[in-house]
Symmetry: C2
Subunit: 331 residues, 2 copies
Amino acid sequence: MTDVARLAGVSHQTVSRVLNDHPNVKEQTRNRVRAAIAELNYRPNRAARALVTGRSQLIGVVARNSTLYGPASMLTEFEQAAADAGFAVSVGSVRELDRSTISAVVDRHLDQRVAGLVVIANVASAAEALAEIPSDLPVVFIDGDPASGRPVVTVDQVAGARAATRHLLDAGHETVWHVSGPTDWFDSAGRIQGWRQTLEEAGAEVPPLLSADWSAAEGYRAGQMLARMPEVTAIFTANDHLALGILRALWERGRRVPHDVSLVGFDDVPEAAFFIPPLTTVRQAFGDVARAALSLLLGQMRDEPGTADHVVVPPRLVVRESVGRPLPSAG
Amino acid sequence: MTDVARLAGVSHQTVSRVLNDHPNVKEQTRNRVRAAIAELNYRPNRAARALVTGRSQLIGVVARNSTLYGPASMLTEFEQAAADAGFAVSVGSVRELDRSTISAVVDRHLDQRVAGLVVIANVASAAEALAEIPSDLPVVFIDGDPASGRPVVTVDQVAGARAATRHLLDAGHETVWHVSGPTDWFDSAGRIQGWRQTLEEAGAEVPPLLSADWSAAEGYRAGQMLARMPEVTAIFTANDHLALGILRALWERGRRVPHDVSLVGFDDVPEAAFFIPPLTTVRQAFGDVARAALSLLLGQMRDEPGTADHVVVPPRLVVRESVGRPLPSAG
DNA sequence: AGACCGGGTGTTATCGATAACATTCCCGTT
DNA sequence: AACGGGAATGTTATCGATAACACCCGGTCT
């Protein structure tokens, strides 16, 4: 930096001002400094800046199991958005969202003096661990508890589940079964709620809830059970991988989709269109979620009294071929 | 830090020594300092440390499209390994590995003064862009060009492809068709090579190569073509998603797997066991790759003349139900 | 004309750590 | 008893940026 200042014939402070777009620098000086910066291929030392300002250009992300399609998409989308805003993203993935694991990850981020934190806090049990996050650190939760008092960005799981359930009822099914994700995930809870509400409003009987983790393996297990029950003609699953497992279980017992059983998934993974048959599912706009989270975070960093502290992104039903009318015998 | 020093009744330098495990500190003093650190809940400022040492505790990762199963797994595994070693990981994902995009991402990492860089450089075209990385920065490539002169960790794609092809030939098929990934990916190239070699060694005819991107969509397209050709009885695909698309295309034309056509995939995504039928595939040990990459990187950072600069991780064939003997008519 | 103001710039202090050097202390040697 | 040497500790300089303040200068107001 001193070199740049010398080359441009100004003080290092003026260079700093140019770097930070301070208003009180003459156009001509500014150009000279910029030229010097370019010529020397100078790049400011973020560590030094972070030291004096107390703020880095790093945003920490805490996520669980980022190999699932949702979290992985969220992460890349967020990284892209952050990069555009000049921030780097430091990831901290954890296997479980229990108190000690979260503390450790949050601590690591705190060590790095992250400027803000994004937590993909999709389980209720994480709440207490998350309470430890210093209150002066900008934080945004994704899929978190709206009642936490911190800014939250969520996909409207209830609406997505309603659309899916509605779609099945509209096709003429008497009721809809639901295979949910782990019940401690907010996502799961919302989807269960939307499903149940819709059935109740339609005066349909609410069948017992089957819950699983997010894997095809558990979907298969649930599917084996459902396949044996002739009264099951419509199933809504909490994600596409579960749907895949169910598809296979149904197929093994000779129950055809959508002829005998209709099925709707959630997520719209890229492969969903190539399941047998192509899966009708609910797509979440991860990009929108990521951008909303970033903008909320930047708002907090700038100390703006955030206009909104709870952004809800609507999902969209993608209709393919896994839903049909029930057989006359069943309807 | 000053507070800690005062509380422990020592100088800040001694605190620093304790922090960095310097040998010349009396046990008793060390304990007093540690106690003070704990009591004040003090955490060192990494920015200050980075400023004076010129090295951060951050490792940058450059990856393309991290929503694919492979890259996503790699990223999480690497993050875990790095965390255990006390490093944070900053991700920079890019859509394309062309020169300008890579430069931008690498620059961002350089700005952050990363201590090292891991590049998941799976396409040949990335080579020239990667040449720009300053040679004094520790770098490890994953799936990169072994001829690049930089340390590389790869999965033995050739061996994986050989195992898959061999498995199909052993089942009695006259030859094996291959649907590859994009030919500019090193992964694809290795799998093509292994496939071709194995056929040639077995004296089997080498059918024309079909290449696609990694998506189920293109697998489906290739599958539509293959399904129409009765002489096709065995297919090896470059990943599981392609296999899914092919599975559907075959199913649509009534060609049963494994009865009429045998199929082997690559990756062993968690869902592969729930395809119809369960997919025989090749599993890559992403965890091993990630740990090897980290250890190579740490070796470089410590300035050790790395014992190995090219680690090859073997893949493993996972046999399920998508491979069978060819029909007598075809054999 | 002199006081005042604000844009443009330079000077000095500061952030929190480590590096380099200085110092003290204790011990074993001769 | 004096001395050398290494272990343990303290002092000061330093990294590269921004913050706070000082300063100069030209124009406006009274």
